[in-house]
């Protein structure tokens, strides 16, 4: 049985990147939200109108506000509300970067099975992030 008294190299690498990504992401989240609140960039949905939309189902909300699905928000980051999506996407992307970083370590240690698991996990996360998967209406 393999003995592990300390965290492994891949575990430490993962943890370092996660730590940095989490801190940058959370800081960005606060900054972009403050910018949104100050109204420096005009929001796509006027804040006064928010209560009209937040009770709608997401499908009706997208129809009413003409917001595109998937990565369409990238074209709207000049709007105060969509500026926040940069930091949200950053936080959601940190895990993928952590996985990509440990793949070479796992293969170097000839841990092929875990290397393959990490590659498949990256593919799963990229698929989720791709915007290809769209849900039906309700």
């Amino acid at each position: 049985m393999e003995k592990k008294l300390k965290a492994t190299e891949e575990q430490l690498t993962y943890s370092k990147i996660l730590d940095l990504g989490m801190k940058v992401g959370l800081l960005a989240l606060v900054i972009t939200f403050i910018i949104y609140l100050t109204g420096i960039f005009t929001p796509h949905i006027p804040v006064n109108d928010l209560p009209k939309y937040w009770g709608m189902s997401v499908h009706k909300y997208l129809e009413a506000t003409h917001i595109p699905r998937g990565w369409g928000w990238l074209g709207m980051v000049g709007k105060g509300d969509f500026l926040n999506f940069i930091s949200i996407a950053f936080l959601a992307g940190v895990t993928t970067v952590c996985y990509i970083a440990i793949i070479p370590i796992l293969f170097r240690k000839k841990d092929t099975v875990y290397g393959m698991i990490a590659i498949v996990e990256v593919l799963v996360l990229v698929l989720a992030a791709s915007g290809i998967l769209k849900s039906g209406g309700h």
Binding site: K4, Y36, G39, A89, E121, A129
Partner: protein
């Protein structure tokens, strides 16, 4: 008693800075919120018929999530499991947005805890990686199902799930060091085992797991539920890792928390890409629950009120019943 609590709070510099931050955040909300409401960009669309100004709800959301953050830490549960039923049941936000925010709240908490747990070797990457692959792929399916199903169905299922969680909390046993006589073939092949240092006793705990195929199969269901309801899944991860698979309790709790950062990431992307994320809900919730958690950890270091677990169970029971009755059209 009040004086003692007050003294404790203000003797602690970090706690004090947290409270100052909260105060600044609240003031900013009030000042900027009212300013934006009067001078904000105009819209052809009519404003809400409600007399409540728009900024009241995010402010209340921030205050409530701050309290939830404290309660969650003291009650030993994740913030997401309290967030979705309570905010979904008692706030004017649609459940689609509540689940999207719930996932991001759970994700932010897991991202914040993950590095420390990995560095100390409490969360185990070898245990987490195969489980995470199954749970995160299933969470995508769950998220898509959740956004496609009618709201009453999701509410009914959410209510039933929350009541199920209450049952798990009341009945599930925990084992500090479960006895695993022999590791199963799959965990042996994957070399899922380890040693961690138990600081409280100074012991080095040698652990291995069993029933790996059954455990992995259960993570399909856990992943689907996490994605569908935006709950996080610590309430299910821990019993499966600890009781079924035989990982020590601390390794199970730490690995579960780390797992959420992967499971919730895949589900969160589905909600983001399908538009179910409102920054005005998400950001106050994340900041509120994280600041609440910081305060909760400080309080936990001094005392752990026994009653808090029953308060958490009571909150879940009430909000779960609310979701169930809302879904069934009995209490709208």
């Amino acid at each position: 008693m009040k004086l003692q609590i007050s003294n404790f709070k203000f003797q602690n510099a970090k706690l004090r800075s947290s409270l100052i931050l909260i105060f600044v955040f609240c003031i900013m909300y009030l000042v900027v919120g009212s300013a934006l409401a009067s001078t904000g960009p105009s819209s052809a669309a009519p404003v809400s018929e409600s007399a409540t100004p728009w900024w009241v709800w995010p402010l209340v959301l921030f205050a409530v999530t701050f309290i939830l953050g404290i309660v969650a830490v003291l009650g030993g549960v994740g913030g997401g499991v309290l967030f979705v039923p309570i905010i979904g049941g008692f706030f004017p936000f649609n459940l689609d947005f509540v689940r999207g925010a719930g996932l991001l709240v759970a994700l932010a908490g897991a991202l914040a805890a993950g590095p420390g747990l990995l560095k100390k070797g409490m969360a185990d990457l070898r245990l987490a990686l195969p489980v995470a692959l199954i749970a995160s792929a299933s969470a995508i399916v769950g998220a898509m199902m959740g956004l496609a199903l009618p709201q009453n169905v999701v509410n009914t299922a959410l209510g039933a799930t929350i009541l199920g969680i209450v049952a798990i909390m009341l009945m599930a046993k925990k084992s500090e060091y479960p006895e695993v006589k022999q590791a199963d073939a799959l965990s042996t092949a994957l070399r899922i085992n380890g040693i961690y240092h138990e600081a409280s006793t100074g012991q080095e705990i040698n652990w291995k797991i069993h029933r790996t195929p059954q455990g992995l199969a259960l993570f399909i269901i856990i992943g689907i539920m996490a994605g569908m309801f935006g709950l996080g899944a610590g309430w299910a991860n821990v019993p499966v890792l600890n009781i079924l698979m035989g990982a020590p309790l601390k390794v199970s709790v730490a690995t579960s928390k780390f797992l959420l950062s992967i499971t919730d990431t895949s589900a969160a992307w589905i909600y983001v890409n399908n538009g179910a994320v409102l920054p005005m809900m998400v950001v106050p919730s994340i900041i509120g629950i994280m600041l609440g958690s910081i305060v909760g950890v400080r309080i936990l270091a001094k005392a752990k009120p026994a009653a808090i677990r029953y308060i958490v169970i009571g909150l879940l029971l009430f909000s779960g019943t609310r979701a169930l009755l809302k879904g069934l059209g009995i209490w709208n």
